[in-house]
């Protein structure tokens, strides 16, 4: 049994699959132990179609057609986000914590890779089409931001045995951070590619040491279920959730590049090429030539925390149709508040089917679907936040969520 847990944990680190859309059901059943494995692997954008995104994230050739088709969807400013997470949780309702017979305890661990970017259509064009596309014009990159973090956590918390509300304090290890912004960025070229003007004001920081731990921190997970009066005198429940609310100190330091300069380049002259050895000499530095400041800094970083508030399903509801809706926010990322609304249909006691529409987040409107099989002691949920992403290369996202719950 112990070995099995180790295998699961290791596998969870090697890939990811997710949880967020899976219907959390208000379940007041008194049980002894509960194991939950959940995962999410999703990507969403306002503009980047799956044809390109799949190539980027999964590998493979991205055709010119796919690049151009996606380019046509881009606007002045675009967003994209990627969320990979795997989480394991064990809940013990047998033990009483702090002498309180209503509280059990939980331990959890997880791996998270969450990132977002806001970027211009010209930046997309430059990366995927090259600077030929902008000859005789100006490409604008101002407003570009990116924030990517990969981290792991292990936590211990208390959980109410009946409502399953919980508070968890987590120890966090940060493996990677990539963070940058360009407040100003323009590239101007003449039509025959003989002169380039670059104006840049921005910075980029990243963990340059290729090691497991580059920073340590702490985070709190909160999960509260609150009853409220619903239609026809029925009682319903709202779940208030905060995840990864915390900070980490990058004790191994991050390499920081900053630039605020205007650079004109129209080719080297013969003296630089043949007589002035500085161009090819050891003392030549491209960073210096571009006036890029380099430094290493130890600093605090905010974890990409999630806030979600929404009506959840009532497991004891006898009808076949229930609604669920809510709001989700990642305040540290390029993420607009996401609103979702959906319905859960229970054709038989052991099966839930759900259809959810959402708007916001890293992209725009999306339709999601899930199914949940309840075998009394085991529940298996599988879903997606983006149905279209399963079928179309022109969709703007992909998503797969999974949640396995075992009650003993």
């Amino acid at each position: 049994m112990r070995n099995t847990f180790i295998i699961l944990f290791v596998l969870g680190f090697q890939h990811a699959f997710g949880q967020l859309w899976m219907p959390i059901q208000y379940d007041t059943t008194l049980i002894g132990h509960e194991f939950i494995l959940s995962g999410d692997n999703s990507y969403n954008s306002t503009s980047l179609q799956n044809g390109v995104a799949e190539g980027l994230f999964k590998g493979g050739f991205i055709s010119v057609f796919e690049i151009d088709d996606s380019y046509s969807k881009h606007r002045d400013l675009n967003r994209l986000g990627k969320n990979i997470q795997a989480e394991f949780e064990y809940r013990n309702y047998k033990k009483n914590i702090f002498g309180n017979e209503n509280w059990g305890f939980l331990v959890k661990g997880g791996y998270y890779l969450i990132g977002s970017a806001a970027y211009s259509d010209d930046l997309y064009g430059l990366i995927f089409k090259g600077n030929d596309h902008f000859l005789g014009s100006t490409a604008e990159f101002s407003g570009t931001t990116t924030n990517v973090m990969g981290f792991q956590k292990v936590g211990f918390g208390v959980i109410s045995k009946k409502e399953k509300s919980s508070i968890t304090l987590n120890f966090v290890n940060v493996s990677n951070v990539y963070k940058g912004n360009l407040s100003t960025g323009t590239l101007t070229q003449d039509a025959d590619a003989t002169s380039i003007d670059l104006k840049v004001d921005g910075s980029f920081s990243y963990t340059d040491k290729n090691q497991f731990s580059n920073g340590l921190g702490a985070a709190v997970d909160l999960d509260f279920k609150i009853p409220f009066q619903w239609l026809n005198g029925r009682k319903a429940y709202i779940q208030l959730q905060a995840k990864n609310l915390g900070f980490a100190y990058m004790n191994q330091g991050m390499k920081n590049y900053s630039i605020d300069s205007t650079y004109n380049y129209s080719g080297f002259n013969f003296d630089q090429l043949f007589n002035n050895k500085s161009l090819f000499g050891n003392d030549f530095s491209l960073l210096d030539s571009l006036q890029i400041q380099t430094e290493r800094k130890k600093n605090w970083v905010a974890l990409p925390c999630l806030f979600q508030a929404g009506k959840i399903l009532d497991e004891n509801y006898q009808g076949k149709l229930q609604s669920l809706f809510g709001l989700r926010v990642y305040p540290t990322l390029s993420y607009t508040p996401l609103l979702y609304l959906g319905f859960n249909y229970r054709p038989v006691k052991i099966l839930d089917l759900g259809l959810i529409g959402s708007y916001g987040g890293f992209g725009g409107f999306r339709a999601g679907f899930y199914t949940n099989l309840d075998l009394q002691k085991i529940q298996i949920g599988l879903g997606t936040e983006d149905i279209l992403g399963f079928f179309s290369q022109k969709a703007l996202g992909e998503s797969i969520n999974i949640r396995i719950r075992c009650k003993l």
Partner: protein, 541 residues
Amino acid sequence: MKKFVQLNKIEPMRFFVVFCILISSILVSCRKEKAEWVSNWSLPLVNDTLNLKNLVTDSFLAVNGTGNYQLEINRNILDINLSDYIDIPDTTISQKYSIAAGSLNVQPGTSFVNNNKDHLFDLQGAELKSVVISQGKIKISVENPIETKTIFTVKLPKAKKDGQAISKTFYAPAGSNANPSITSSEIDLAGYELNLTGTNGDGFNLLQSQMIVQTDDSGIPVTVNNFDTTKFIIEMEGIKMNYARGYFGDLTVQDTSDLYVEFLDKITSGIFDLPATNIQFIISNGIKVSARATLNSLTNTNTYSGTSVSLNHPQMGVPFIINQATGTWDSFFASIKTILFTSSNSNVEQFIENLGARQKLDFKLELNPYGNISGGWDEFFPDSKLQVMLKAQMPLSASMTDLTIQDTFELNIDSDQESTHISEGKLRLMVSNAFPLQGEVKLFLLDKYGQTIETVIGSELIPSSVYGTLISGQLQKSDATIYFDLNKNTLSKINSIKRVVVKVVLNSPDAITNNSDFVLIPEGAFMAFKLGTAFKLENRF
């Protein structure tokens, strides 16, 4: 429904674990390959203009009355500084003194030695009377065998600077015959004039010295016997002169001087035709000594054809007298001897048209060929030199037929075809040419063994300005954009390419006949280059 019931009977924890492992294994087995796409990039590489303005400021070129450039060559090909041949070698001289016999009681403060001596230098035939030292030093040491503190005064009365002779006083501690005390000091000789006529003033190569020895006032009475030898030693080292007077001897210098003109080694083939040409050899004697010189030969060798051409002229191999310079230290006038090489009295055209990069001058120089006829009054001054200069003034005009200039550049590119790399592309050369020359550009890509892997030929010629449009005055220019195609096959071998040979084949066409003809280079002629890339980048991440 039945299946669900059966599943429900399975031990839940085991099912949970098995299911998780199954899902995990499926996802882990999804092997990730690199993302790939192709983008198109154009970047400037070189942006510069070649012209002859710098050469004009270097007095290599001038503009003549017709608004065309002309060659103004004024170049030293031989530079003899006589101080390299006549010098005072590193020398050690010493002066000893002891009483003749018996012993002498010496009271404190008593002078018991006052001795003069002339020291002879061996200057290998030269008989110098006066020299001025530009650099060098002397070290003076004294040895005291007397058993009391003793004062040595060492003087070089005829070694003066600003009128002051060298005089050095040493306070030597008490010593003994077996173990004399030694005291020393150094003097920088730069700027000192040495009169080498000796004590009597009528000799040469003689340096006068004086040693005075007395016991210290505060010492004790001592007995000095004939075994007590007081001594001083002068070591002269690194002496260089910038003035000398005397008879310099019958020195003969026979040598060869090699001159390498690197640019000419880049011309590998073709025909270079010059109009009638004059060049002068100017022999300038800035030394007050008569000489006899012989230009034995001047030969150049073309590296590629192996052809050597020797300059023929009635004066070659025939000795000629160079008169001595006139004047004094402040204002002396070099004696000049000019030898003119023209198309009619020599093969100077053929000599230049051979485009030999390696030039060799064989010469002989004899000083005082008729002996000491100056009465020992040869002189050289700080700026005195014997020089041979090449001087030419001719229109910058030539006819070129397939004149091939080539240069080689090292290249070391490590391109991983499995990572982001350039898959194909072009070099684009935008050129504006105001020279009346037409060029074809070829690139030869060589491996580490020097074998040609690929040859890349420009899509068209660099057109001569004679086919172009008028800019100003008589200056015309032609514009062209030339592409060098670097296809996939070429770039797939990029890691093997270690050198690039750029070969330019030049012609000087006539605008009407298109045949090579003599062309003049107009003032302000230039060739502007804008070399850029246009390539496909295979991005792989």
